[in-house]
Amino acid sequence: MNLYEFQAKELIGRFGIDIPRGRVAGSADDAERLARRMAFPRFAIKAQIHGGGRGIAGGVRFASSPDDARIVAGELLAKPLVTSQTKPSGERVRWVYVEEAFDIAQEIYAAVVVDRARGDLELLVSAAGGVDIEERAAADPRVIARFPVDVTMSPPESDFIGAAHAVGLTGGIAQKAAEVFANMARVATGLDATLVEINPLAITTDGRMIALDAKLSIDPNALFRHPALAALRAQIQMDEGDPKELAADRHQINYQKMDGRIGVVVNGAGLALATNDMLIDAGGKPANFMDIRTTASSLDIAYGVGVILENPATQVVLINIHGGGMQRCDTVAEGVAVALRRARRQVPLVVCFAGNNADFARTRLKGAGVSFIDARDMSDAVSHVMSIVAKAAA
């Protein structure tokens, strides 16, 4: 679960990290009003999006008066922001963050991140913070210094002062940086954040150390111990999530709509990816990605299949199920039969059942009066699907 900058800043601020004073605005009018009230000599106006690369894409602007803030905020809110990390169509800007602008002496990069290959938590620092850090690190990996964080200690421990020295700081300002790094590690373990990134961590001309931008990613599997964040996630999903995908999720199904015409029903993420790979290799276009989790009941499955049948683009449905120890073929067959009984339209059905209770599932589906093409194996199923697609196109 990725948080917006303003949400991330509020949270890291609670852990003792210095953040600029600022407010969120949803309109140009709001931006002006808030700027007038805060009365800073200069304002940073920042588009709130999840994707990175915002600075280079023009998503961070400055204003020297409330009137100026109004104009800049209006421009940022007017259209989606396209960056190197967003979809090509960009990301909608629902809010801008209006905050105090600073005179910066130096910008540092700092992140505390779960490293999946090493299976540990690491502090990454670089003396060269700012918008193009990624390119510079790609050109020379030594730009980034890494320090493992010991999470068995509370608070978590690492060579925080060594990290401050690694970015070239000494004396009192090094102490300050070490404190920020230690607090970032506390954010990671305290909030179950898999990413705590401050870029830039700015040293101002008057010697303050301030988090000018912050990114925070919270582990959704840990929300049971963070009820406030769970509520925030529910809100974010309601605002931004696809209602069908969210409903499918409640039915123990991972569903993502795609832009093709072949509906796909699969159990297991690996098999689901592999099935879509085979269809696309054969020249087909999946209408969706679907992974039925092991915990889905037949009625959950009926819901998922129903979503696919209701999609007007769906021309044919491929059901590729490998029954396992926890999700058997016959449970899926039952769900499919229910969905078809409810459906307002019929599309050709290609079914490949294998593994646990495959024969029983075929019998059940036939017994329910469902007509379907009974594929021998995955290759056979894909070729049946492709010939149906070809016929429909002719």
């Binding site: 490293d115 999946r116 699969v266 993420a269 690996g270 085979m278 294998a354 290759s379």
Partner: protein
């Protein structure tokens, strides 16, 4: 012979008295797995599925000589249960639980360092040695004892490849699920290493998917070791849309994880044979085994 588990496995089950554990453990014992103890805090002293139940792993291990533990513990307490098993020096711990918090797994990984325990999972379907021992929740309908070792990140694809290798007349020495979580115990590379040492295993299948660096690690290992057994890999998700990245850290750490094509390229460059799709893994292994037997690998 097999890897990780076998006829001498004396299994204890943490969370035995729960519903899912009861269902799956009954299937495992019916398959021939020897269940020697259960652990459920507060329920010590009972019997469940003909096995004595203890309050702690240490008590259970001391009383029964258990040498492996399988966890059916909910995500909230799974890490605590894993660490309890590690501290009791259980040599093998297999975890089925899904959705364990990542930070908990980071803590478990720290507990594993220097310990005597090998962890499989979490979010793993477990380990199957066909005809001998099942420590997992997989289906066994298409399992046949044989020569192919399967190590995998995906439970359903394992099951599919099991069926294919059985159909090809090869059978399996063992199947191991490393689990789908970002931070886990046994890696794909560890699985390959174990299968290379196992005399029953004549060929190895590695099933990967997008995300993480497990496949790249296998490629590095294979390139360095130049193993004498054919290795076939399949990586799912070649056409999957890339996940949107956030922040820069993903670019310099391994937080984000990889697309399928670089994984496939790395494996291929290391000499691993790639199955073009999920349906052809069995045939690809059969072909590689045939080639290996008809022209023995020359030492370099």
């Amino acid at each position: 012979m097999a890897i990780l588990v076998g006829g001498d496995t004396r299994l204890l089950c943490q969370g035995l008295t729960g519903r899912a554990a009861t269902y799956h453990m009954a299937r495992m014992t019916a398959y021939g797995t020897r269940l020697v103890a259960g652990v459920t805090p507060g329920k010590g002293g009972r019997n469940h599925l003909d096995a004595p139940v203890f309050n702690t792993v240490r008590e259970a291990a001391d009383a029964t000589g258990a040498n492996a533990s399988m966890l059916f513990v909910p995500p909230e307490t799974a890490a605590k249960a894993m660490i309890e098993a590690i501290e009791a020096e259980i040599p093998l711990v297999v975890v089925v639980t899904e959705r364990v918090p990542v930070m908990d797994m980071v803590r478990v990984r720290q507990a594993l360092k220097g310990s005597k325990t090998r962890l499989v999972g979490p979010n793993s379907q477990g380990i199957l040695v066909p005809g001998v021992c099942q420590v997992g929740v997989m289906t066994t309908v298409n399992a046949r004892s044989g020569v192919v070792g399967i190590v995998s990140r995906s439970a359903t694809l394992t099951s599919e490849v099991m069926a294919q290798t059985t159909r090809a007349g090869l059978g399996q020495s063992a199947t191991v699920g490393v689990g789908g979580d970002p931070v886990h115990g046994l890696s794909l590379k560890d699985g390959v290493e174990l299968f290379l040492e196992d005399p029953q295993t004549e060929a190895i299948v590695v099933i990967g998917e997008i995300g993480g660096y497990g496949e790249e690690e296998v490629a590095e290992f294979v390139a360095a070791v130049r193993p004498g057994k054919p290795i076939v890999a399949f990586v799912a998700g070649r056409h999957a849309p890339l996940e949107r990245r956030m922040g820069h850290a993903g670019a310099f750490s391994t937080e984000g994880g990889g697309a399928a094509n670089p994984k496939i390229a790395a494996l291929q460059a290391a000499g691993v044979s790639i199955s073009p799709n999920a349906a052809l893994v069995g045939q690809t292994v059969a072909l590689q085994l045939h080639r290996a037997k008809s022209e023995p690998i020359r030492s370099l």
